[in-house]
Amino acid sequence: MIRAAGLTKRYGDQLAVDHADFTVEPGTVTGFLGPNGAGKSTTMRMILGLDYPTSGGVTVDGKPYRALPAPLREVGSLLDAKAVHGGRSAYNHLAYLAKSNRIPLKRVDDVIGLVGLEQVAKKRSKNFSLGMGQRLGIAAALLGDPGTLLFDEPVNGLDPEGILWVRNLMKSLAAQGRTVFVSSHLMSEMALTADRVIVIGRGQIKADTTMRDFIGQNATTHVRVRSPHAGKLHELMTGSGWRVEALPDDDGALQVFGVTSDAVGDLAGQNGLWVHELAVVQPSLEEAFMSMTADSVEYHAGMPAAGPAGVEAR
């Protein structure tokens, strides 16, 4: 379990993390979302004792990271896959980590097999692809068989098979009762993987809730209807007091809010209007995220529509 209380980090007059309070519970995958520069990495670095909080604190299983008796056996982390000395082989990189926490060297072979790096284990890691580096980082995180795992952008550079593997790995780690805290800018990926979500914007915790509630509270379900008589249908629905928005770049598709698809279909039928498509659209995590953090994006792109600007891209 990770618990932050009043966690604050100030760089000069810039508040990178501002009195953050949150708890990451065991047994679930908790996603950590925030726009670029929102304080995600700083928070993760403070959890790992790499950066010092200006005030407040954060503990893992009740202890500050630096007080953990054998850190790698309790917390596994993947912060930056490139944070390894490229001149050392993958095997030796894991072996020194194992030695430093007196983890049996047999475990090194185990995790190399687990992430599928057997073929290149004895090769120097500087020639690794991004995906192989990511696998090495995940192997290092799993090395001490820890109860708490932190992953920063774990699927970066992985192929589709690798992404599926990481998703299943995280779910199975959580199912084993471990605490899994993962940040990603891939919203669809997070929606599939995480059960809970902590959202940070401008250093402040904006939400700490379940994925379902987060989406439900920050974006609304709507009905999508496409008709050759879009103009007439638009008029009728507006006349019924419904909120209707035409999709600008579509062939007569309308978005209707606050009603069921039954009601839309009935209205069209009663007026003898053809309908080519009628569907209930569930909001995405991305929409929920954008609507929540719209005001806290550090760098806005100069685009009129709410595009993927501000979503962390690395």
């Binding site: 004792g49 790499l50 850190p71 930056d80 944070a83 430093s100 926490n101 007196r102 992430v115």
Partner: protein
């Protein structure tokens, strides 16, 4: 690929100790090629230069000695004071600066968050390794340098006054220099910066302080790390320059204190700074 890991760690609850940190750092040090090649350079480069310089200087050396001019037998160790000093210092810097330039330091610190233990483990390992290789190198330089001198009947001997002390002293000095490099590496966290500052301090600034007039200049020259620590590597005439430099052991003690002071400052900053 399987998505499962092993069940609960059978050795969970173990508390890592300083011995584990040393074991990890030792594996780290010997699994990068730069360590090996730096030490090979230290040994082979120093030996070769000692031999070559003694070959070139043997005639002059013999003439001076015959004319009763002051000579200095420690010419046989000259390679150590050139290539050896650079290699030992660079190895010390790289031991930590490479971790900063690759970002590996963050991984190291998540494994061992009690940071000073990393610094102390690195310092102990470096000091021992460089002392051992330095000692072998000093013996090699002494023997190789002696060959051309002996051919002119002006060879050096272990029984010459101060010769044994200079051989062991060279190993100690190189060992200290590597720690000096380590300390500056921790302070600056930058390979090129630490190498430039350290080497210019030893090879350039150390000599330039002679130009400062008065007793302050004299004192400054004496306490510059290369001048204070280097005295222990000298024997024969150059070691008798009591006016200019400290006595060998006094100078070495000053040097060790300077290195320790830098290392302590490095440790404090390492502990306090964000990684």
């Amino acid at each position: 690929m399987s998505a499962t890991t092993t069940a609960a760690n059978p050795t969970a609850g173990y508390r890592t100790g300083f011995g584990d940190v040393v074991a990890g750092e030792w594996l780290k040090l010997r699994t990068v090629r730069s360590t090996f090649w730096t030490l090979v350079t230290l040994f082979a480069g120093s030996s070769a230069i000692s031999l070559l310089i003694c070959l070139a200087a043997a005639d002059e050396f013999a003439k001076d000695k015959a004319a009763g001019k002051p000579d200095s037998g420690d010419i046989v160790l000259v390679g150590l004071l050139f290539v050896g000093q650079i290699a030992a210092y660079v190895l010390g810097v790289m031991t930590i600066s490479a971790e900063y330039s690759t970002g590996g330091i963050r991984t190291s610190l998540t494994a061992v968050p009690r940071r000073v233990e990393i610094l102390v483990a690195k310092a102990i390992l470096l000091a021992v390794i460089v002392f051992v290789v330095g000692l072998a190198t000093a013996f090699a330089c002494f023997s190789l340098g002696d060959i051309p001198l002996r051919a002119k009947n002006v060879g050096v001997s272990m029984s010459d006054a101060g010769a044994t002390r200079a051989i062991f002293g060279s190993a100690l000095y190189l060992s200290g220099l590597s720690i000096f490099g380590l300390a500056l590496g921790f302070l600056l966290r930058h390979t090129a910066g630490a190498i430039t500052i350290g080497l210019s301090l030893i090879f350039i600034i150390g000599g330039l302080t002679q130009l400062i007039p008065g007793s302050f200049g004299k004192w400054l020259y004496k306490v510059m790390p290369g001048n204070a620590g280097g005295g222990i590597t000298q024997f024969g005439e150059t070691a008798k320059n009591a006016e200019k430099v400290f006595a060998p052991w006094t100078g070495f003690t000053v040097f060790v204190l300077e290195v320790l002071m830098l290392l302590i400052v490095g440790a404090i900053l390492f502990e306090k700074r964000d990684a």
